[in-house]
């Protein structure tokens, strides 16, 4: 048997996980392995070892989390937990930016955790003053994030948890030997309880430590009002009086979209700043957060279509630059990114062939993987549109 701690190139952080978890005391082999740098077929085929590593593909279909723990032997190939760390100021948009990593894992029923500062201080220049000085400003974790993780736990019936990075007056406590990791006090002890339970495959919603964190998230959750989000145009009727859907003929759209009476339109204004065309951060994470918060019911079924209005972006240009690849004939039932059930039934050759087929959206850019495949429909400025699989 082998355990693999996958990391996003920070092997010192992976060593910290190993040293402080129960993996340190087990006789089995433990490897620290770097995740592929991106999802291109070339990178995946160059860095993954089959059949052992194939299980990672569904876990990274949208984005790459910081730490993934996998258990592998001849009879078991399982992802045990997915973890994301952030040290940024924790107001809504920063943790939301990372949510597609947690969203994808939790949907696959993998216990998932975000380690995030509850409070972080930052020195900021005073505004509108002649000789501005630097003042310390404290940012606190948005209550909306607790709501988001609580709803995600409910939807997926899988612990999807927030742990607080320890701090003193908003300055982060870090591990003295592994400074990209938090200090092993307070919530980080609980986080290791979570990791150790995951290693033992004993995580359930009712397990006492999990329940404690789930209840804490629930009690910290804030009330959510969709009207507070400037990036959301609103919830609108899917089919207009002219029997079209956002100007598109009904015959061009799948039944599932037309059948949903209402659609939520996400319309951020900053998708095409001068520095990048079809920007992803923070909106890709927000899109996945808005799916769980507003578009899906407690069972995870979409009650509203999730529509991204890509203002200032033309599909023509995305095709020219390769930002979106042509996914015609992509077979989701043979796609190793779909879920664990699908990847486990595919042979190594099936997987390699699929990766080389050049029409899999999950080997494309983050724009196509997250915007394209999490939303139901993207509407572009040139009148073109994109449908998820």
């Amino acid at each position: 048997m082998v355990y693999i701690i996958w990391h996003d190139s920070d092997y010192d952080l992976a060593f910290w996980v190993y040293k402080n978890s129960k993996l340190r005391n087990i006789p089995e082999e433990v490897l620290l392995k770097e995740l592929p740098h991106d999802n291109t077929s070339e990178k995946l085929l160059a860095s993954l070892e089959f059949p052992r590593d194939s299980i990672i593909l569904p876990t990274i279909k949208y984005e790459h989390p910081d730490i993934i723990i996998q258990k592998y032997d001849e009879s078991t190939n399982k992802i045990l937990c997915v973890n994301e760390f952030m040290t940024h100021t924790p107001q809504w948009q920063h943790p939301a930016q990372r949510f597609s990593r947690i969203y994808g894992a939790s949907k696959l029923k993998i216990p998932s955790a975000l380690v995030v500062p509850k409070t972080k201080a930052k020195l900021e220049k005073e505004k509108k003053k002649k000789n501005p000085k630097y003042d310390e400003k404290s940012y606190v974790l948005s209550p909306v994030l607790y709501s988001l993780f609580d709803k995600t736990t409910t939807i997926n019936q899988t612990p999807t948890l927030i742990f607080h990075w320890p701090d003193k007056n908003g300055y982060l406590k870090t591990d003295p030997e592994h400074p990209t990791a938090p200090k092993l006090v307070d919530d980080i002890k609980l986080w290791f309880d979570f990791v150790n339970l995951a290693i033992d495959d004993k995580i359930t919603l009712t397990e006492p430590t999990m329940k404690k964190i789930i209840d804490r998230n629930k009690s910290a959750a804030g009330l959510i009002d969709i009207k507070n989000y400037k990036t959301i145009r609103g919830i609108v009727k899917t089919v207009d009086p002219a029997c079209r859907v956002f100007g598109i003929l009904k015959s061009q759209l799948p039944k599932k979209i037309i059948e949903r009476e209402h659609s939520m339109v996400f319309e951020p204004s900053g998708l095409s700043p001068p520095t990048s065309y079809f920007r992803t951060d923070p909106y890709a994470g927000m899109l996945s957060a808005f799916d769980n918060l507003f578009c899906s019911d407690d069972s995870g079924s979409r009650k509203y279509n999730l529509v991204l209005r890509a203002k200032g972006v033309e599909m023509r240009r995305l095709r020219q630059t390769g930002t979106f690849i042509d996914k015609r004939n992509h077979d989701l039932s043979m796609c190793p990114f779909t879920d664990y059930h699908t990847v486990n039934k595919l042979s190594d050759d099936d997987i390699k062939q699929h990766l080389l087929s050049k029409n899999c959206p999950y080997t494309g850019t983050k724009q196509q993987r997250v915007y394209g495949e999490i939303s139901d429909l993207i509407l572009f400025d040139d009148g073109d549109f994109y449908l998820s699989d």
């Binding site: 020195l123 300055y171 003295p176």
Partner: protein, 178 residues
């Protein structure tokens, strides 16, 4: 075989720990940043991060604060780091901000910090044993069988990565190594 920028940063961090330095910030490529220094000349009305700096390593020991910039082997980029380090002390407002932040990070992490600390610099990289008269150099090499993409936890990276510190003076050597 050449070290990556991460290998260089990691190896220097380990070297500093073994020479009794406390690490205040560690920002290797691909990792979460510990903290960043704001740019005092930035227009406060602009919301972006223009000119914000995140030195790769900040460490303290006794009355010294060490800033290290790390690169892999790219000489042009290493020279650009040297320029960045030389310019650092010119901006006194930024130095004050650094001390303010480091003081608070030290309080949070229970390290001692003296406001009259002396700031010193070093660069770290591989391939060229290129030195400067005013900035110390960490020279990092890796063995041919080092593979950071997959590590068996029983192996120690420093069995494969070597760090040599090239001081600028005997006093500098004493400060860094004692």
């Amino acid at each position: 075989m050449e070290p990556s920028e991460y290998d260089v940063s990691y190896a220097i961090k380990q070297w500093l720990l073994s020479h009794c330095w406390n690490i205040i910030a560690f920002n290797p490529p691909g990792a979460q940043g510990t903290f960043s220094l704001p740019n005092p000349s930035k227009n406060p009305a602009y919301k972006g991060q223009t000119g914000t700096q995140s030195p790769d390593i900040i460490a303290i020991k006794e009355n010294y604060l060490l800033i290290v910039e790390c690169k892999d082997t790219n000489l042009a980029k290493i020279k650009s780091d040297v320029k960045k380090l030389r310019n650092f002390l010119i901006n006194t407002e930024r130095v004050d901000l650094l001390k303010r932040i480091v003081n608070n990070v030290c309080i949070a992490n229970e390290f001692t910090f003296d406001a009259n600390v002396e700031i010193i610099f070093a660069k770290g990289h591989g391939r060229n044993k290129y030195t400067e008269s005013d900035i110390g150099t960490f020279f990092v090499t890796v063995k041919n069988n080092w593979n950071s993409k997959i590590i068996d936890v029983k192996t120690k990276p420093l069995d494969f990565i070597n760090v040599e510190y090239i001081p600028i003076s005997a006093e500098n050597k004493k400060i860094l190594e004692n």
